[in-house]
Every structure is written in C-alpha cells, then in structure tokens.
Amino acid sequence: MPSNGLIVIVRVRPECQDRLRTILNQIGNDINGKRLTGIDRQPHIDFPSSRTIHFARLVLLADPDRGPDRYRLLLVTDFEGTWLNHVRELHSITSDPEAIWGCCEGYSDFSSFTRFIRRHEVKPQAYYIAFHGLSLKKIRTLAKSLAQSAPPPVKKPDFSLPDIAIQGLESLLRLPLIGLSVGGIVLRRGPLRTLRAARRVNATQDRIWWIYIFNRLALNSFPPPAHRYSSIPIDTTADCEPASGLDEVSSKKDWEGAPAEDLVAQNQLTLVTVVDPERLPQLQAVLEVIELYARRLAEEGSLVGIRTIHTVRWALLDGGKRLLLASNYDGTWENYIDEFAELILSGLDAIWESSYGFPELGAQDVAAFKHFLRCHQAPASVFYSAYPKTTIPNILDGLQLERMRSARV
C-alpha cells in the first residue's frame, strides 16, 4: 500500500482568523484525549475515525507577504491510499467544513473541495517515510502484538549466506536506479552544484562505509569552528529577533495557548525559514540529494542512522522564498535535535545555511541552532498521530517478532 503525503497552504480570510484559531485549538485538545464537553456542537475533525491517516497537523502560519497580522492555514498529512480518497475523507470527517475551510480564501463548497485542495497543494522537494509499505492497520497490529508478547524478540536472527547474497543482489539492483537519480540531479542542477551539495550533506557521515569512501574520493571533511563560543542571544526572556530585514521569526504571541511540543512519545515539528535568493539553487541541489537518500538509499525505519523520524518533508514555498520542514518524530524536541546534531551535523548545515538567521558557526553550535529552530518554528494548533505511543524501534521490533514467528511456522 503506497504511503503518500499532502501539503496544502491556503490564505485565511482576515475577519475569520481569530475564530479559526479558536476552533483549531479546540480540535487539538480533543485529539489529545481531552474530549471536550459539548464537542458535538463545536466544529471538529474526527481524525481518530480515519483508517488511512497516519499523521495530520493544522498550523496557522504567519503570512507577512500580505501584512503583519495575516495568516495562512497549513495542512500536512501522511496517509495511505489514493489522493482523491484522502481528500474526500478529509472533507467527510470534518463535522462542519464550512466553519474551517469556509474561513479560507478560494473555498466554495464540497463539490469543488478537491479542486480547491489541488489548487493549493504544495509538492515537497524531499520526503522521507520510515515505513513505505506499512498500513495503519498493520502498524497497530504490530504494536499490539509487541505489547502482549512474552518473550519479546531478544535475539535478532543470524544472517545466513543466502540472506547476505540476496541483500547484496538487492543493492546491486538498486545501483542503476541510484545512477539514474544522480544523473537526473546533475542534469537539473549542474555537476558542480550537485557535487558541492553531496559534499556538504555528507561531510560528517564517515561512519557509513560508502559515504566514507565518497568523502575520501571527494577530499571532503568538516572544518572545525572558528572558535568555541555560542552565538545564542544572551537574554533568555526576549522575543526572537529577526536576523536581518528579510528574516521572519515567530513571536511569543503565536505560542500562547499552543500545546507543549515536548511530549513522549511523539511530536511534530513545523519550521518555516526564509531562503537567501542567491543560495536557492544550491539549496535545491541539497534537497534533491536528500530526496535521493530518502527514496533510494534509506533502510527501513532509518534515515542515515536516525531512527526517530516517522516522516519528514522539506518543501520550498512561495517560489523558493521560504523553506518548510514538517516532521513527525519520536521523543522530546530536545532529544530529537540533539540526535540530529550528533548524527547528521553536516546535513543540517547544508539544509539551513542558506536560511536567514542560521547560526554563524552552524549547527555544531547546538545551543544557537536550537534557538534558530525555536524562533522559526510554528506551533501546530492540531496534531494527530494514529499511533502516538508506538515508536520506530517498536515497529521494527514488531516486524522482527513477526518474521521470527513466521520462520518458526
């Protein structure tokens, strides 16, 4: 069953903004398990009733292009099945579509909903999904069997020679596809930019053997910082300051009443940064390299060793003016970012060094990098996960358990 994603950004009617924020925040509380009294009379979206939606979020994004107090509504979902069924389902699980979508410019009624969504859809430049073929039903079954299992899979199966041979063959078969993808990037972005992007992304990834070889061949290394002091602002109480006239930061106001995004086990991250137009072509090449990783090179459940991401996508918005990151991950925010800084440091620099406000010393100045993220993060009014207590390692263990059982039979 293919896994798909949807990103939609629509302008919110100014007279409707406050009402929409209230409605969305209430839906957010409803999903978090605090079923509100009188909810039936409130407009809501019944995500838990869906059998195809894995993750969903609704975020009110500042829309500075149209004015200081204007907002856009961002919808990000991860689902299985066809696009059309998904969009129809979104509409049908919304108790009062008029109250939510009616607040958005360009919405008229149900008959034109799919057209409305299609017109405002944004395609991601890079999209990673931890488990491509796993349906929601399957993941829930795995989680259940894991919780009930005694004994759990304490012993990973030994790899036999045929297994290794099959794996080797699979890798070989993937080579032409990888070659094609690389060729595509080179054609679209030029050989120099592609090489530079690959070097920037891979510089700290020596622990993966084929990247180690690449780094030696490309004489690629990660230079130490100029000095070892953090550029994080000294005032820990202050509102975020834009790094330059073009930078856009979230304000404390945006976070008022927003849910605390430091829960265990799952959270979401929505980040919008402004891209330096001169560095946009390089960023595009970087995103294509990451897309290649995500589609062709990532193992099941792991993005270059990171096993906390369920899905993540990067999308260029507004003709490349802004960069959106939307991820669904396990664990707390602090842990998530710490693991990034440990495992994919050079990748973080490659992605965000073209954005305004990125720390002078890069992501290895972790304190300043976290500040950069916090200042460009938008709180999600609604966040839904279909399996909020199931982590990637849980799913991997569940699969392992299943394999062991079928091997025994």
């Binding site: 005694a150 759990p152 304490v154 002091y229 207590k389 390692p393």
Partner: protein, 502 residues
C-alpha cells in the same frame, strides 16, 4: 589534554569545593535554606561568609605532601529569587536559563520532570509553592554528628547576627548522612557511577559539562550568564571571552560556577520489598528471598554489593563493583542487565536505543550528572543481609517488611552545567520515558513517576528462554521537595556581595 579543560590553581581557588568533591571523609551534612530579607544586610553577611567557603583548592600544600583534608566544609548556592534579592539587575537576571528562572516547582517543570500525583510540588516539604520561599541553600559537611550540630549552631549564629537581614527557614532545614556500609535505603550500594572529569582526573567527560567556563562535550563553552559592563563598575567580574559578546563588553557571571539540583526523595522501602515478595509469590508460589534479591537487582541493574549485572550476570560478586563496563557488545538485548533497569536508563553508556556504540557513548557523555547525595532517616533493615550468601537465614529479614512510619530517603543533589540538557533530559527522555530503548510501556522501576493515574506497565526482564514481565509498578520513590540553584564561583559571589542597591 587541552588547556580548555584544565583547572588551574587560580580557577580551583574560585570554584566551590562542592562541585569538585563529594567530601567522602565527611559523612554528616546539613542543608540550610535561607531568605535574604534585606539586601545590604544580606550582602554584608555574604562578605563575612566568603572566607569560610570551601573551594576546590588542592588538599596538598605541596605536590608531594600528604592530603590535608578539611574537617568541615561550607558551600552556598542561590535560587533565581535569591539572585534578585541580592540586587542583581534585570539585565543580568535575564541571562540565566529559563529552568532556573521558573524553578523546579512550576507546572511546566513538573510536567517535564514527571512530578505528578503524590510527587506534585503542592505536597512538598521544602521548595514547593506552599513552603517558605528559598533564596539560597547552605551546605555544611562535618566529620561527626556532634560537630555538625556545633557547625550549624555557629552558622546560625552568624545568620542571627544579621538581625533578620538573612532569615533561615529553620523548620525546613534538612540533615543527611552517608552510611558506613555505603548502601542506600533499598539496600543497594550507591555512588559507584560518577563521571570522571577531564579537568580533574585528566580523562573522562569535558569539564564544561559541570563547570561553566570550560569546554563541554559539544566542543563548546557552555552558555554562561553575564552582566552588562555598567552593572559592574568596579570590574570585579572577568570579561566574557565570547567574541559574540565583545562589542557590548559583557562581564562573565558564570565562570567557575555551576547549576545544582536539590531534590528530597522519599523511599518506600517496605513497599519495595513487599512488591518483590508478591512478585516472588506470583512467580514461584511462595516467598523466596533469593528470587526477591535477584528481581530487585534486575530492577536496579546492579547487585546489592554494587557489582553490575552486565559483568556479574549470575550472582553477586562484590569484587566486581565498578563503573567500567559497556552494554552494546556484551549485553545488547538486556539479557544480563535489563534495558529498562535503573542504571541503564540513567546512564545508557554505549547503547541508546538503536544508535551505534560510538555515537551513543558520545551522546551519553553530554547527559551526565555529578551526584552529591546523602541519605536521611534510619535504615529499615540491615542491608548487609542482602550480600551474605553464606547465611541465607539472615536474608529472611527482608520478608514481611513493615513500614515503621519513619520518613526515609535521599537528598538527591547533582551538579550540571545545564539543567535542561542534563538533569531534566535524563529525567524526561530516559528515566520517565515509557518508550525508552525500544520498550513499549514502562518507566524507571525504581525512581520513575509510577503514579497510579499515569502508571505504565510492568517491567520487562528479558531472559534467553523466558522473559518476565512484573506486575504494574507502583511508586517507590516520592518527591518531597526540591529547587534549582546556581552555585557561583567566589568571584561572582564577591560581585553579588558588592552590588549597589538601586
């Protein structure tokens, strides 16, 4: 070793001794909580206190001379409210981390720390919203109980001499001790795991993980509080070395200081052993003290003697008591030391979830704590019965343990350069995380927030042939109080003593 980790004799004279030493030779401790009612009088008292403070100075007069250990030690740490009461400017206060500003007892911190149910700050005996405000904590150590009493009397005299300028919350004062046998109340030898510091032992964790002004495990200097130059007209504080602070010429408040966590943790010793007794009956149909000790050790991750299960999987081997071991190679699936055990959660070493050993080690080094705790309350039973295999009869002492109504537990104190990145991280991401290390639904079996309302499942004890899941874990440890402190270097304390009233 890099110059940026080493503690020179000048810096040792500036660092408070509590940060660098657990004062193993001084078993008796008092924690006095005080309020600064009057700024000038408090500052005057602070000036007289300065010469009495214990520093990190070497105990050897000359390198080859024998150690001349102090008979008494005295150290002081300040809360955010205490910094304000001493007259620190808004500009300076605002450079302190948000955790210190909020304090441990706010709903936000309580949520992160998992202080819910009976552990909620509203029930606390010290530091909570219903207790006296705390501006500073004085930590006194002495060789004997008698001397500690005399020492406290002397210090209280100096507080009384301020005529109310500095006021002690006498009813909330706390006393602690280190038992001769080294075992905490549940009966396990404690204090084996202490990180080594590059700046002291020459190897181990970066000094900046515990002391501001030195390189940490991120390869950076920890973020340090500062004041604008106008707030330090007498130039008492050193100038901040941070190039990003140069144009404004900020002055460094944090240098040689650190952050201190104080938590009073009550232990339900009878409840702990009763739970194990019930488990023993459930598993074997009869109370079996040996099985109880085995299961308790699986929950802790060490045997009562302190020997780690990873090195001594079959039986307690006191001679193997060490902190020098790893998991990824020898025990990846927790067959010896369960993944969910207390020591594996609070220090996962080279195996955090599914991250590789080298990366895991590097990441855990960024989340270490220097522990400085002491016990309170009498032992409920003689812990030596747990590690005397030659006399199984003695082990019967742990059967049908009844609570004697006496409060007992531990004053849990830790030193770290970042409250959020170290203490709170360990508490939230490891200790209280139901999904830690690939698990599905259980928290730390010993100190986890196993409140009936949020309770996770039982602990999983993996075995080669059979795995065991305990009954749902009740709460064995209840938070009874706590606060976050900044423990400044002596230079910064001198500065606090000289801030002019405005």
């Amino acid at each position: 070793m890099s110059r940026d980790h080493r503690l020179t004799s000048a810096s040792k004279a500036d660092i408070q001794g509590f940060i660098t030493s657990a004062f193993g030779h001084l078993p008796w401790t008092a924690y006095l909580f005080i309020q600064f009612h009057d700024q000038p009088l408090s500052q005057e008292w602070l000036r007289t206190l300065l010469p009495r403070l214990t520093t990190a100075n070497s105990w050897r007069r000359k390198p080859e001379a024998p150690k001349d250990k102090p008979d008494r030690t005295l150290n002081i740490a300040l809360t955010y409210a205490g910094l304000a009461a001493l007259g620190l400017s808004e500009a300076g206060l605002h450079t302190f981390p948000v955790e210190l500003r909020e304090g441990m007892a706010t709903p936000e911190r309580a949520r992160i720390l998992g202080d819910s149910g009976e552990s909620a700050p509203g029930y606390w005996e010290v530091g909570g919203p219903l207790n006296e405000p705390v501006h500073a904590m004085i930590i006194l150590n002495a060789r004997s109980q008698e001397d500690l009493v005399a020492f406290c009397d002397e210090e209280r005299e100096s507080l009384r001499a301020t005529k109310g300028g500095v006021f002690e919350n006498e009813k909330e004062a706390q006393n602690g001790y280190r038992p001769e046998n080294g075992s905490e109340h549940f009966g396990f030898f404690d204090g084996v795991a202490q990180p080594r510091l590059k700046g002291i032992q020459g190897e181990g964790v970066g000094t900046g993980e515990f002391i501001l002004g030195y390189l940490n495990e991120y390869g950076f200097y920890p973020v340090s509080p500062v004041v604008p130059p106008a707030d330090d007209p007498d130039c008492i504080l050193p100038q901040s070395d941070n190039p990003f602070h140069q144009p404004a010429r900020y002055r460094d408040l944090g240098k040689n200081g650190s952050f201190i966590v104080y938590r009073k943790l009550g232990q339900d010793v009878a409840g702990f052993w009763r739970f194990l007794q019930n488990e023993s009956i459930r598993i074997r149909g009869t109370p079996d003290p040996e099985l109880m000790v085995w299961l308790a050790s699986k929950m802790v991750g060490r045997w009562p003697s302190g020997a780690p299960l990873t090195l001594a999987p079959g039986k307690d081997q006191p001679e193997l008591r060490t902190d020098d071991f790893l998991y990824a190679e020898t025990d990846p699936y927790g067959l010896k030391c369960p993944v969910g055990s207390h020591i594996r959660r609070s220090h996962p070493r080279d195996q955090i979830g599914s991250t590789g050993p080298a990366e895991s080690l590097h990441m855990t080094d960024r989340h270490r704590l220097l522990r400085r705790g002491k016990l309170y309350g009498p032992a409920l039973f003689d812990p030596s019965v747990l590690s005397r295999p030659e006399s199984p009869a003695a082990l019967q002492a742990i059967l049908d343990l009844k609570d004697d109504g006496q409060p007992r537990g531990v004053h849990f104190l830790v030193v770290n350069a970042s409250l959020k990145g170290q203490f709170e991280f360990i508490q939230q991401v490891w200790v209280n995380n139901p999904n830690f290390g690939g698990l599905t639904d259980n928290r730390d079996p010993l100190v986890g927030d196993n409140d009936p309302s949020t309770q996770a499942g039982g602990m999983l004890v993996p075995g080669r042939r059979y795995s065991l899941r305990t009954a749902p874990l009740p709460r064995f440890v209840t938070v009874k109080g706590g606060a976050y402190f900044f423990m400044p270097g002596l230079t910064a304390l001198r500065y606090f003593a000289e801030i002019r009233k405005n």
